[in-house]
């Protein structure tokens, strides 16, 4: 079985984010770059499938040479192979087409991605890759069982848990709760440094036209400082807060 994991290198949103000149993108030079947290869960799930059923795990990213750091992290966790896709993709649809082409070349049975990237938070690429390949997809998976050429996935829905049956090949996206990603071992890190990263170039003609464009990025205006009560006795503070919410704001 061949499992492909789609990983993305993203800016750590816990660190400071600055905008690049022109406000079309963030300043990547100053950003602290990490593997998208949901993608780490995707890598972990692939490794568990490998341990349980036997599989080759190939991690794939789309991006600049620097994004190979994310591939090395996944290799250090235990992935077998890695590939970097280069393509002039600029939106979720063109990115998905480039990644789908890589999945075809690797001839995967299962593709696992994170549910969304922590940077642009689109949450589209996984399902778009599936559509492009003509495969089924299940997004935001919190439990995954593979048996033979089929599987069962669970996902959280409003007010319950949805249980889905699917057949392979399939694309699933990982949601928090699916697993806790392992740390890379020191031997794993050493081994990952020496692994070769396959380069897959996808021609722009295969991608078609982008359907989404980022017009601009802005830092949000600071939310005006509110009315904060301090130095009051608990009973007094509670009374005043409820009075404000009831009489002034008319919210309760």
């Amino acid at each position: 079985m061949q499992v492909v994991v789609l990983v993305k290198q993203v800016a750590d949103t816990a660190a400071r984010i600055k905008l690049a000149d022109g406000k079309q993108d963030i300043d990547r030079q100053s950003a602290s770059l990490i593997v998208n947290p949901y993608d780490e869960m995707a890598v972990e799930e692939a490794l568990r499938i490998k341990e349980k059923h036997g599989a080759t795990v190939c991690v794939v990213t789309l991006g600049e040479a620097k994004a190979e750091e994310a591939l090395r992290t996944a290799l250090a966790m235990g992935a077998d192979e890695a590939a970097r896709v280069t393509a002039p993709a600029s939106d979720p649809l063109t990115a998905a087409r480039a990644l789908a082409q890589a999945v075809r070349e690797i001839s995967a049975d299962i593709v696992i991605a994170g549910r969304s990237a922590a940077d642009d938070e689109q949450g589209q690429v996984g399902a778009l890759v599936a559509t492009e390949l003509g495969w089924p997809h299940v997004t935001e998976v919190t439990k995954l069982e593979i048996s033979g050429a089929a599987g069962v996935a669970e996902r959280e829905v409003e007010g319950g848990v949805e249980v889905l049956d699917f057949s392979l090949p399939v694309v699933v996206t990982a949601q928090e709760g699916l697993n806790t990603p392992r740390y890379a071992s020191l031997p794993g890190i050493m081994k990952a440094k020496r692994k070769e990263i396959r380069q897959i170039a996808v021609d722009g003609a295969l991608l078609g036209q982008p359907v989404l464009a980022t017009r601009s990025l802005e830092l949000p205006p600071a939310r005006g400082q509110g009315k904060i009560l301090s130095g009051l006795e608990p009973a007094q503070a509670a009374k005043e807060l409820v009075r404000i919410l009831h009489e002034e704001a008319k919210l309760i």
Binding site: I17, P92, D119, H137, V163
Partner: protein, 322 residues
């Protein structure tokens, strides 16, 4: 016509459905479209009647074996056919677990731009556009759709349904042929959790507690306040990781984004990951013992004080309002 893909469960429409109808009406005016069509897939007649009673001009239903139980491949085919049937320039979905799963599939089939998790749509140089909060709420992005047909997932609580009783809209059943062999994934069941409170992402009031509650036992205070206000209960990643509360209650990155009219949080300092999930809230009220806590920077109202000392009094005062 603007097309909105509704959601129903157990014979009744979900709250997002009326909001989608309202969003579609607004978009109709924006685009100068000739009406609003609502699409209901795999639902029964009771839900369809309820859909016809919403503010719309046409209600399309899709029924049959292929649509009993959610199956993205079949349902996406139904949406594509409905969109062609009413020549929709815009298709709206809820930004819900269902909409987030189905919309990108339709986007792929139609090669359409999908504006995800939006609270408002605008026109920019003839293109549908929307503002989105990205990078955990640290950046606002303006995105435009470049395709002839645009899709959007609409954030819960962003649009208020029209109150007036509209006359029943006409209903038409759409025949959608789906080859069963082309469907490779289907929902078997939804295991319902006993819901005594509104769903976190749908609730108009949310009460959340964090590590400041000091012990999982103390969360009964959060639940008590929530029940008095008819609110959903939420929490932070820290308490979920500590095993105090279930993941289904987690707000923020790796949890749920909420957008209630009122968000009351107690004992939550406001890590970036949490704040990113509450930006859409109209009014934020915070109680925290640390006056410097980041949560106060985004709060409309707040009290500096200990969660466990303030909460019993808050409950008492709210109860007094009756």
């Amino acid at each position: 016509m603007i097309l909105a893909v509704l959601e129903a469960s157990d014979g009744s429409l979900k709250k997002i459905s009326a909001e989608l109808a309202a969003a579609a009406r607004k978009a109709q005016a924006l685009l100068g479209a000739d009406g609003v069509a609502l699409l209901l897939i795999g639902a029964d007649d009771v839900a369809a009647d309820a859909a016809c009673a919403l503010d719309c001009d046409l209600c399309l239903t899709v029924k049959g074996e292929a649509f009993s139980g959610y199956a993205a491949e079949a349902w996406a085919a139904a949406v594509v056919q409905a969109a062609k049937d009413v020549s929709a320039p815009l298709i709206l979905f809820g930004s819900t677990s269902f909409g987030r799963d189905l919309a990108p599939r339709v986007a792929g089939l139609m090669e359409a731009g999908l504006l995800a998790d939006v609270a408002e749509l605008t026109l920019e140089d003839g293109h549908l556009a929307a503002a989105r909060s990205v990078y955990s709420g640290k950046v606002n992005a303006r995105l435009a759709s470049l395709s002839a047909v645009t899709l959007a997932t609409v954030r819960p609580n962003a649009f208020s349904p029209a109150g007036s009783a509209a006359p029943q809209a006409p209903r038409r059943e759409l025949e959608v042929a789906v080859d069963p062999a082309s469907v490779h994934c289907r929902a078997r069941e939804v295991r319902r959790q006993a819901a005594t409170r509104p769903e976190l992402t749908e609730a108009s009031v949310v009460v959340a507690g964090g590590r400041g509650l000091k012990d999982p036992e103390n969360f009964h205070l959060i639940e008590e306040l929530a029940d008095l206000l008819g609110a959903a209960v939420g929490t932070t990643r820290a308490t979920v990781d500590a095993g105090w509360r279930p993941h289904s209650e987690q707000i923020g990155q790796t949890g749920k984004n909420i957008a209630p009219a009122l968000y009351i949080n107690v004992g939550i300092s406001g890590a970036v990951q949490h704040i990113s999930g509450v930006f859409g809230s109209r009014t934020i009220v915070s109680v925290n013992r640390d006056a410097e806590a980041p949560i106060f920077k985004i709060s409309d109202y707040g009290v500096v004080g200990d969660a466990l000392e303030i909460l019993p009094h808050l409950i008492e005062e709210v109860r007094r309002l009756g």
